[in-house]
């Protein structure tokens, strides 16, 4: 396997190089324009690289800077007037920890629910001879293009008595149809013989799912868990709509209120005069602390999501 891939790679590389030399031999002028093109391309991509990273670096720099330099507009890539006082302030704030804990709780619960619903539905609708399958798929896909809208959803959740409960955060978006379709096409591409053999051995459809299919689907399950977990970690709007009790807020709402000026630095320990001043600094610290877990799982997400997207799009 490995050998085969490398050979294919070398072949591809040779082809690419071949493409270039083909032009080079033909005309020196073209080759010069080729170099210009390559140079421009490289500069453009380096610029993209820098512009993408810059806002993140800027936030980190601000989080370690003292307010004087931030307000003078002097902080860009590096911290000015190094200061960790704000980190100490936020990390000592019990509201922050409470909200952070809520985010962890919501992420775990919501991801679990989502995985159970998505996996079972995807497995069933991947069975090509299941009667009613096309209706089930239609029911799911239609919701991608038409939805009830903000107000009816709000009215529904309120009348279900879910306001100010965890359920308002974890249930309304439990199934992502996008993830569902990726999983469905993964299950469809599994060799049928495996499942048939297991059925002949006397396993029921449950048995096939739990003992044969799922153990072979670790990669896709991991991908989906990461997709859902990241989405849940980042979500704020459900909580913003349905939660009034500050003890239930996720950390994204903590940050949102800070940005919107509802929670000022005052409630996190600042004094009245410097409230406005240290706002940028304190926001940056909160952003950094919220992003850290995402950055920690990012390498794994990165490893899996491309194959996840490919799984959904490569179909014979």
């Amino acid at each position: 396997m490995v050998k085969g891939t490398t050979m294919k790679d070398t072949l591809l590389k040779r082809n690419r190089a071949g493409r270039d030399t083909g032009v080079l031999v033909k005309d020196m002028k073209v080759s010069r324009s080729m170099w210009v093109f390559r140079g421009v391309n490289l500069v453009f991509l380096l610029a993209v690289l820098f512009l993408t990273v810059y806002p993140f670096l800027n936030i980190v720099a601000q989080s370690f800077s003292s307010e004087g330099f931030i307000n003078a507009g002097q902080v860009n890539l590096f911290p000015m007037g190094f200061n960790v006082e704000t980190y100490r302030l936020i990390l000592a704030d019990s509201t922050f920890w409470n909200n952070y804990g809520n985010t962890v709780l919501y992420t775990v619960v919501a991801t679990t629910i989502s995985m159970v619903l998505t996996t079972s539905f995807a497995y069933a609708i991947a069975k090509k001879d299941l009667k009613g399958r096309s209706v089930f798929i239609g029911i799911a896909v239609f919701t991608m293009f038409f939805n009830g809208g903000l107000i009816p959803n709000y009215v529904l959740i309120s009348s279900l008595g879910m306001r100010d409960t965890l359920w308002a955060v974890v249930l309304p978006n439990a199934i992502s149809v996008f993830n569902l379709l990726i999983m469905k096409s993964f299950f469809e591409n599994m060799p049928r013989e495996l499942e048939e053999a297991a059925a002949i051995d006397g396993l029921t459809q449950y048995g096939v799912l739990f003992r044969v299919v799922l153990p072979l689907s670790k990669a896709i399950v991991a991908t989906m868990v990461l997709f859902y977990a990241v989405a849940n970690w980042n979500s704020w709007f459900q909580a913003f709509l349905y939660l009034d009790n500050p003890d239930l807020f996720p950390v994204t709402i903590y940050l949102r209120n800070m940005i919107a000026g509802v929670t000022t630095a005052g409630s996190a320990g600042g004094t009245a005069e410097n409230v406005g001043q240290i706002a940028a600094n304190i926001q940056s610290v909160t952003i950094v602390l919220t992003v850290i877990p995402i950055l920690c799982v990012y390498p794994f997400v990165q490893k899996y999501f491309f194959s996840g997207v490919m799984l959904g799009s490569v179909k014979e």
């Binding site: 493409r19 239609f142 038409f146 009816p152 529904l156 704020w236």
Partner: protein, 331 residues
């Protein structure tokens, strides 16, 4: 909701509703048979479907039905379907509401600008990445460029507001170049550039992923043939690469048109303020304020329904047009 919906094109095309269940792979049994037979045989699979179906019914289809409150008087705490029939009262109300039309106009402008700038950028980015010869550098650029996609919109909003603030980076640059600073976050004239540039920043990298996937499947021998015909690099791109990724481009274009009306609701809600409503207020933010801040549920539902119907119409017509002109469609 926080994550943007990106649909792998073929995942949607794969099983058009109405064509499934025909047992194309020739399974164990060739005839679907009656429901009774199906349930006896597959009742375990149907139990798996049950909970998700309840989920769709309650959280997706019930709210759709709940849209009737657009035509009925709704009382907080009362029935989710409203109390009494009022006909088109709320529809005529918003048709005569200048704030609505301002929001409508802003939605169209932001939608068009998004299509104009945010849609082509990922294609260009993918093509440029594809020309890179160093795979390591390519991987590095990709890894970094995907990052904004995984950030919460709250964090993105925080970054936008800081970078465009009076002391932020953009003003630092403006100050050193032109000697002036601009209050970007409060000046209505600057809202659109601020929004669109941040949108490009946020979506360019991840948006390229499907194009990159499509590019890996372009047949190398096509390039070879083009070269033999004397095509230079640019002609190869124009005549080989672009046609090869055309179906992906069209599919994503249709999907983008479908989300036209929903322009970055959560982000706008986080970064706009009364000072720039003139340019920043879109239909979804307007109905949010009308419905949830002023509690005019029925009125807001009427606006929301109008928005969803336009969205659905747009995607259906885009799909029909592309089916006829390009032979590519979602279903």
């Amino acid at each position: 909701m926080a994550m943007r919906l990106e649909i792998p094109p073929e995942a949607v095309t794969a099983d058009p509703p109405g064509k499934g269940g025909k047992n194309r792979n020739g399974g164990r049994r060739n005839k679907p048979g009656s429901w009774k037979v199906a349930i006896t045989r597959d009742w375990r699979l149907y139990t798996l479907v049950l909970l998700p179906l309840i989920y769709f019914a309650v959280f997706r289809y019930l709210p759709m039905a709940g849209n009737v409150i657009a035509f009925r008087q709704f009382q907080p705490g009362g029935s989710i379907f409203g109390e009494k029939w009022v006909g088109l009262k709320y529809v005529t109300l918003f048709i005569n509401d200048p704030s609505f039309w301002q929001a409508f106009q802003n939605t169209i402008i932001l939608g068009v600008l998004t299509l104009l700038f945010c849609f082509p950028m990922p294609i260009i980015f993918a093509l440029m990445l594809n020309e890179l010869r160093s795979q390591k550098f390519k991987k590095l650029v990709q890894t970094v460029a995907y990052l904004p996609h995984f950030m919460s919109v709250v964090i993105i909003a925080g970054m936008i507001l800081q970078n465009f603030s009076m002391t932020g980076t953009v003003n630092q640059v403006a100050n050193s170049l032109f000697g002036t600073t601009v209050n970007f976050t409060q000046d209505a004239g600057w809202f659109r550039p601020m929004y669109i540039s941040s949108e490009v920043w946020q979506t360019m990298g991840w948006g390229a992923i499907l194009y990159l996937a499509a590019l890996t499947r372009v047949d190398e021998s096509l390039y070879e043939a083009a070269r033999i015909d004397g095509a230079n690099r640019w002609q190869q791109t124009w005549h080989v690469t672009l046609p090869a990724i055309r179906p992906t481009i069209i599919t994503l274009l249709i999907l983008n048109i479908g989300t036209f009306m929903a322009v970055g609701f959560e982000k706008i809600l986080l970064i706009y303020n009364p000072l720039n409503y003139e340019t920043s207020d879109v239909i979804s933010t307007y109905l949010y304020r009308v419905g949830l801040e002023s509690s005019n549920f029925s009125y807001a539902a009427a606006i929301g329904m109008f928005e969803s119907v336009i969205g659905l119409t747009l995607i259906l017509s885009a799909n029909a047009i592309s089916k006829r002109l390009a032979g590519t469609s979602l279903w």
